[in-house]
């Protein structure tokens, strides 16, 4: 968890943290606030 990347959910717009390995992995992110699973390209903002 050393390095956290902030992901913004495309639906609820809330921000959560993922491991950098998630980027480019093809795995969908899971928004813990609205339970949406979404691909990386759908996130309106990714802060590394």
């Amino acid at each position: 968890m050393g390095q956290a990347v902030e992901i913004t959910c495309p639906t609820c717009k809330k921000i959560f943290v993922v491991n950098p390995h998630m980027l480019g992995s093809g795995m969908d992110f899971h928004c813990p606030f609205c339970n949406l699973y979404f691909p990386e390209k759908d996130s309106p903002k990714i802060r590394k």
Partner: protein
């Protein structure tokens, strides 16, 4: 009668009756109700065992299974669990853990009819994790989580391993397990290399001595069921699992045991989760296999246990490691008197006190500590410093350390902990050793004090009578005394 969670709670009711409470009102653990209650109590420095009689399960119904919290917090509860007197100091408790680990007790096998955990067994389509009062612990957690220890079995040696791994509930019969790269991961990878399912069982409720033994971090070859027997001071009773029979044994006196498999080649997105160091561990998937649940065993009137981190000091988690640190450090320097690895602040810090016999002793003891667990920073003190007292620690660092001589920064050679938010590398961490001991090779000002004979001669009650003394309030704003 075998030790179990119920016998422990009975012991606590007898020894510390005010520290076992019931909450009869309905609570929803998945909506942070339980977290908030524990946080409110913790803000008042109160950490009773709380039995929630009417928790709502993940199906939205009041569960038949109660939720029990806070068994792991406080030194006194741990003393009760280990059969120690309340006068036992923290270093003495760590010594006891060391002794119990060295006097391991082999488990015994009982048939399923003699195993309380077999009073209810659900398999196949009847398996439903949503029937359990599973908590959502922290804001931004990826979902409800189970936080107790999981058993695995090395396929080559047959040795059982017990370890703590957070698990996010993904469906009524599956979870995503965050498996850090330690013993369970090694076992899982052995199965996975042969494309085989890895059998596992998660124990959701047992005597604290069971959970302390499950915190043991020793050699891979040691059966942790035997270590748990050492902590219990009696053989751990095991019984055949519903899924693998005698090929995989589970604790007979647990409240609830979930059986399942870690699926080879299958990873799941898991997290974030509020972790032991007090930060949210980010979402990940690389070391998160799918845990398919095959059976749920539970007792009549079962109690589900969980843990909230980093709330309160958790001696049951720290003490087994402190014993292991004592062993390692003393192998390097026999004069080591205590090791503190306590609570949230010390997850990566280790505080050592010693009777220094030679310059260089602190470095040897610190180096031994650096070889173990997730140690990042080691602070070494003289034996007049209470390493469980933060004020003592800060005073010694302020007054006995010249940073350019006594602080050593170590290159990032060490495997760190994935939960450490300060990491800048994927897994490696640097380190720091602070030698806060007084030098032996030059004079050093003595510590000022009242003469011992004056302290013995002057009886406080002769000058400040008890009836006056009892009305003087304790000054809780004097943090640095």
């Amino acid at each position: 009668m075998a030790k179990d969670l119920r016998s422990f709670i009975d012991d606590c009711r007898r020894e510390i009756p005010n520290e076992v409470i019931h909450v009869n009102k309905e609570v929803n653990p998945a909506n942070y109700d339980v977290t908030a209650i524990i946080k409110h109590l913790g803000a008042q420095k109160k950490f009773p065992i709380i039995i929630f009689d009417k928790p709502v399960n993940l199906n939205g119904r009041v569960s038949d299974i109660k939720l029990t919290m806070n068994c792991e917090i406080s030194q006194r509860k741990t003393q009760i669990a280990l059969g120690l007197p309340k006068e036992a100091s923290r270093p003495e408790m760590a010594e006891t853990c060391l002794e119990m680990e060295e006097h391991r007790v082999p488990p015994i096998i009982v048939d399923t009819k003699s195993a309380p955990v077999k009073e209810n067994v659900k398999v196949g389509n009847d398996v439903d994790l949503y029937d359990l009062p599973i908590m959502r612990h922290h804001e931004m957690d990826g979902g409800p989580y189970m936080t107790m220890s999981t058993v695995s079995k090395d396929p080559k040696s047959g040795v059982y391993n017990c370890s703590y791994h957070r698990m996010e509930i993904k469906s009524k019969n599956s979870t995503a397990m965050h498996a850090s790269p330690r013993h369970l991961w090694k076992i899982f990878r052995t199965y996975e290399d042969e494309n085989k399912e890895c059998p596992v069982a998660t124990v959701l409720g047992h005597h604290p001595a069971y959970h302390m033994g499950a915190c043991y971090s020793g050699p891979f070859e040691v059966s942790e069921y035997e270590v748990i027997g050492g902590y219990l001071r009696e053989p751990l009773r095991l019984t055949p699992s519903a899924t693998w029979g005698e090929d995989f044994l589970i604790p007979a006196d647990a409240e609830i045991v979930i059986e399942g498999v870690l699926v080879p080649g299958k990873r799941m997105v898991e997290g974030p989760f509020g972790e032991a160091p007090g930060y949210l561990g980010p979402q990940r998937f690389q070391t998160c296999p799918q845990y398919q649940v095959r059976a749920i065993n539970y007792r009549k009137g079962a109690m589900y246990q969980s843990v909230i981190t980093p709330e309160g000091d958790k001696p049951w988690m720290d003490l087994p490691r402190e014993g292991a640190y004592l062993r390692r450090c003393r192998e390097a320097v026999p004069g080591v008197t205590a090791v503190c690895k306590q609570g949230r602040h010390a997850h990566y810090n280790v505080f050592i006190s010693m009777k220094k016999m030679s310059e260089g002793d602190p470095g040897r003891a610190a180096a031994a500590a650096m070889t173990f667990d997730h140690t990042k920073n080691v602070f070494v003190f003289d034996d007049d410093i209470d390493v469980f007292n933060p004020t003592d620690i800060l005073w010694a660092i302020a007054t006995r350390v010249q940073p350019h001589r006594q602080v050593s920064i170590l290159q990032p050679l060490f495997r760190g902990n994935l939960l450490d938010p300060s990491l800048v590398d994927e897994i490696k961490t640097s380190g720091m050793i602070v030698d806060a001991t007084r030098p032996l090779d030059r004079p050093f000002s003595p510590v000022s004090k009242c003469p011992d004979d004056a302290m013995a001669r002057i009886k406080l009650e002769e000058f400040v009578p008890g009836e006056v003394l009892q009305h003087i309030p304790m000054d809780r704003t004097t943090y640095w005394a």
